[in-house]
Symmetry: D3
Subunit: 126 residues, 6 copies
């Protein structure tokens, strides 16, 4: 079927999505941290602590980070939390319930970000 | 002790926070729904469905609604989800971990909303 | 009926909504303009020009200003455009269709602002 | 003339803007809807209803959707409404009055989105 | 003169603006910090460090905090930075140039926040 | 060293960042201004005036424009102000203190924009 074969081919060219995101992120984090701005360094450490297990478990916290990133419409933040959610073994159905909350709370302007989130999630799940 | 007695007195005047919020909300919802705008009616129904149990449980969904409301800095939305979280028996420690995610993701501009959230939570827990 | 009589009484105390908004606005505009900041003065003049008739008529432009204010969740901006829309003779049904667009595009975080918009519109229509 | 010939060439490479936007949109909508999340499905249906003729006509509603998308700085939402506005036969002058409202209400941070909107509109008008 | 005498009287009733803001802020900070959420505590410490003298002086940093608070339309954040700017001896003219940048970058939705900022600044300067 | 040589090569492909940004900006500004929308024209003139020397000097004003652009997460606005800051001879250390304020006030959603800002600044400093 025409659409699906095109679709399949397209997916092959999309396969760099995850690695390119991670590489750019790593490279620029190095540049930024090399400047030794103490406030930025500490904020980034704190960011890591925020998602550690506490009264809430790690899965819930990642979902909180994801929905917050979606309603604030930060594509890179969304990708980061999708990557983490994937590592933690969260299901597609769970992801889409988070997407639904984000779309309802944040409105239809969240839809384009949901498209990119869905695309990235497909990539992670391949 | 001076601070705490003042504090206690203050809390008595604050004791209307929850009821006033709920009354105004109910009253204006009636006004809005009386106008029979179909899109608004359906969106509001959908809003209720969004937080129903599914792949994610009701508690997790309420926390998602809360953190989304906090980073978008919507005080009334925050109060609504705090009320729901309280009904569901969530603990103060859990609430503050949601507050922490919201403050880290959304930055220090979330702090004034965190103050009002903390105040409302104290009211709910009395 | 208990609810409606309370409601009626409430509306009497709300009757200052419009005049208080306009008075505070006028007073603070005077304070700001008295400082002679040229950029602010020119921006404010430009703001008036923006809503003048052109390729689009005045009614359409006020509705554009209203929906923009709603999705950006600026209560005072909403009140200002509701006042203008009322002067131009727009109907309640038209207003609620603008509210609907704002709620769909901007999501449920627009609801609390819709409540305050609906309250202000009731005041204007009395 | 150097600038305009370069410009003309550039426009040939830009000519895929509209089709690529529509294809990606269609493809990802299929992915998302295939997951059968009821809330997302219903919200998307509701989104279509929102812009149907009512007390306000279809043209006005599309302009409301456009200006809301601009002040919320959602490029894909802007493209979608520009496409609809073009189908409805709205003029360049009308479009730029919407752009003006968005720039005044939303400030100079709307300018980069106005550039991309203007580029897309040129493409639609070719 | 009628307007100014009313204005003067009004100012007497406004005179609690600064103290009430500071008292509520202090009280709720105590409530929040008493819950011992480590992420929140560290973020708040970091917030203090952010405005310490470095490559940029303290005055410039406070103005950065102020303009950021204005475009993000956080009234309490604005009040906090106005208080600091006042302690540092910044002039009304300097303040209004910050207001101008915020109004141009963030658009006319910043105007209502500028009114409240102007009101608070008048209070601080009395 | 593997990482740095890759990094160096990467930087060669990035070298078009600044010129491409400026060219697109110039080209689309011409398109927009050719439509003669008076409100847009005047706003853009006003934008230039906003950053002229006054009670605050030009350097401070550019930093205000930069931090406002960062917390509002407008990549193109950030690039514009980074270009200006570079022309004015501001140092990397000063830039990173602005980045730090933006990250603290606006939260971790500002991080992806900080990465792109850092990349652009490296390009300007080569």
């Amino acid at each position: 079927m025409a659409i699906f074969s095109t679709f399949g081919l397209k997916y092959k060219t999309m396969s760099k999505l995850v690695s390119e995101f991670n590489e750019y992120r790593t490279k620029m984090n190095e540049v930024i941290l090399s400047k030794d701005n103490l406030v930025i360094k500490r904020l980034w450490n704190l960011d890591t602590n925020t998602y550690a297990a506490g009264a809430l478990d790690v899965k819930t916290k990642e979902l909180l980070g994801l929905v917050a990133s979606m309603v604030l419409r930060c594509d890179d933040c969304i990708k980061y939390h999708l990557g983490k959610a994937h590592e933690l073994g969260l299901s597609t159905e769970e992801m889409y319930e988070v997407f639904a909350v984000a779309n309802i709370v944040g409105g239809t302007i969240v839809i384009p970000h949901t498209r990119r989130a869905a695309e990235y999630w497909e990539e992670l799940m391949r």
